[in-house]
């Protein structure tokens, strides 16, 4: 038995099966965690379709679309990192992980710029909220959902940045390699999940008011 197999397992195949299943179950809990918010969004979108439509115009579709692209490309680099570690190309793994992190930071930067913009336009809910439309209360609800949903997603992005950076360090120092690549692969699963959540958030929030 090799040094990478923990004492409770009989083989590295068993260990790999266990950690992979564990990650998928964790992602299932994450789906349900976000699911509560998506349920709330669905209810209020159904109750106030026009108001949500109108409020959605105040989000910047271009920045949202750029951010979607940024995140999708970061997922590509993550997938490349997983491929490279299985191919045993250590430097390429680190390069791909660093690219993933840089794009994730770019995503947060654009997101922060958008948040700032909303602040300037008095669209951050609370005492400073000001909205010229007919239903300021409903619009405030829309922006609450916008900030809570994208905020929770951003927290997941930050966690991803930390984890991926740690992985990059461990691969660089040689403590993670081809023999114990599961950690990188599981990080990849997590990162793709974060990406997919955004793929749902973007149309629900930004495109809700798009003409078509």
């Amino acid at each position: 038995m090799n040094q990478w197999v923990a004492h409770q397992f009989n083989s590295s195949a068993q260990q790999r099966e266990a950690v992979t299943l564990g990650m998928w179950i964790f992602l299932a809990t994450e789906v349900l965690f976000f699911g509560g918010l998506f349920a709330a969004y669905t209810v209020y979108r159904h109750n106030f379709p026009e108001q949500f439509h109108e409020a959605s115009h105040h989000l910047d579709i271009v920045l949202g679309a750029v951010n979607t692209g940024v995140l999708l490309v970061s997922s590509f680099f993550m997938a490349m990192a997983v491929w490279s570690i299985q191919a045993g190309r250590r430097k390429l793994v680190v390069l791909n992980l660093v690219m993933t992190v840089l794009l994730a930071i770019a995503f947060l930067g654009i997101k922060g710029f958008e948040y700032h913009h909303k602040f300037v336009e008095h669209l951050v809910p609370g005492s400073g909220f000001h909205y010229d439309g007919d239903w300021p209360g409903r619009a405030e609800m829309f922006f609450w959902l916008y900030f809570v949903m994208t905020g929770l997603h951003a927290i997941h992005v930050i966690i991803g940045i930390v984890v991926i950076s740690v992985m990059a360090g461990l691969v660089w120092s040689g403590r993670i390699g081809r023999e114990n690549d599961a950690a990188v692969e599981l990080t990849g699963l997590y990162w793709h999940f974060v990406d997919i959540v955004w793929v749902f958030l973007f149309p629900l929030l930004y495109l809700a008011g798009a003409r078509g």
Binding site: A6, H7, Q8, F9, N10, Q14, E17, A18, L21, G22, I25, F26, A28, T29, E30, L32, F33, F34, G35, G36, L37, A39, A40, V43, Y44, N47, F48, Q51, P125, G126, W135, G137, R138, E140, M141, W144, L145, V148
Partner: protein, 543 residues
Amino acid sequence: MTTYLEKHSWGSWLLTRDHKRIGILYLYVILFFFVIASVAAGLMRLELLTPAGDLVTSDTYNKLFTLHGVLMVWFFLVPSIPAVLGNFLLPLMIGARDVAFPKLNLTSWYIFVAGGLCALWALLHGGVDTGWTFYTPYSSTYANTHVIVMAAAIFVAGFSSIVTGLNFMVTIHTMRAPGMGWFRLPLFVWSLYATSLIMVLATPVLAITLALLVVERLWGVGIFDPHLGGDPVLFQHLFWFYSHPAVYIMILPGMGVISELITCFARKKIFGYNFIAFSSMAIAMLGFLVWGHHMFVSSQSIYAGMVFSLLSFLVSIPSAIKVFNWTATLYKGSIVFQTPMLYALGFIGLFTIGGMTGLILASLGVDVHVHDTYFVVAHFHYIMVGGMVLAFLGGLHYWWPKITGRMYPELMGKLAAVLGFVGFNFTFFPQFIMGYMGMPRRYHAYPPEFQVFHVLSTAGASILACGYLLPMGYFIWSLRYGRKATANPWDATGLEWQTPSPPPTDNFNAQPVVTTGPYEYDAEEAERRAKIGLLPQTPGGAS
């Protein structure tokens, strides 16, 4: 040979990754919270002795029932059987050295303790008065108590149950010994699997719901705020989407324990293994589809009410399958009335009453009449206490020799089981009657015509308390003075009985290989009879 209890230092316990020790760490913490929550219940029962609110003020009373509910649900019942007996037994029962993720297992205990400390902080700084259900808009806008800290406590403790559920599911999938197929798993393991499924899929929804409640209180996020078009009833939907399945977290593991006890003390193979296994899964699945029956009077549409009512009735099918199978297992068995068996028999009766009254409550029209009365209180206490707590105590007695290597005193055990059963019925049966007559729950004062029922109930509670204190006393006594236990004191089947009591750190001295199903009591019994000189029975006869 060293047992898992060999080392005594604090570090060896607090940094342990041994599932058996982690189970015991959980036992200490949940007992601590059980005592606090029981004292709260005791104070409520004392207050209700007289119709006037003379012992505590209505505010204090509100805090007492909130405290009782929150601590009993999240800090005792949810972790009780899964985190204590489940942690201890799961790897032993499937022939593994440990759970799949031992470090994560220890982490879950620390998360649980952190949640518990938050709850204690809220308690010591004046408590919470929203009821354990935290209904908005009272909890989000009007309550002036420590809702945020208490919600945070439950949020944190919830992650401990998610992690435990995840660990158990992976363990059952990947850690089974050679030959341990899915249909050779003990039924307790099946029930843990069903429970874990609920923990993993329902608890995150509670987490996000409580998080939304907290941000609503902190910053006025308006998801449940009618001023912004928010709907307070949405909170109820999200809350019960977790909390109804959570009811099954609080009974399925108990059913698993009972399946083990019944077959062992009837000296007979369990009747309908597959049906019991699949009924656990069916309860877990159906449990996700019935949350609306808590909201028949919360402005839910009649159509939705009818669907939820029908689905709730469906849950009774797998539940009844279990009861019939346990009863059929007893039929022509050689029943031995040891303490665990007394608890198991008590469970069957009380669970049946609790389940049947659940059908009454699931009926739309009747529920309007008895909603928020003591009838509901009695119903769920028959499941939670009459079911889960009796199963927990029964299981604790049954596996006590395995856990500690000592026997508990049998006569005292029987006395405690009977006291618990009698005390429980005295406490809660009168509540059915007064609830049906219209006594609402959560009031500290009431019209005098209900007094006789309240007095009966309080008297019963004091008997029930003896039924709890007695085992606490003799369990501690037995640690030092109890008779030493053999590896298999009950002549039980199952892998956990094939290793010494208490087990070695790695559970088994050699990797077990499984060649038979879990309940080969017929063979075991023939062997036992031959040993004491009884003639072997003819095939097909009762054994």
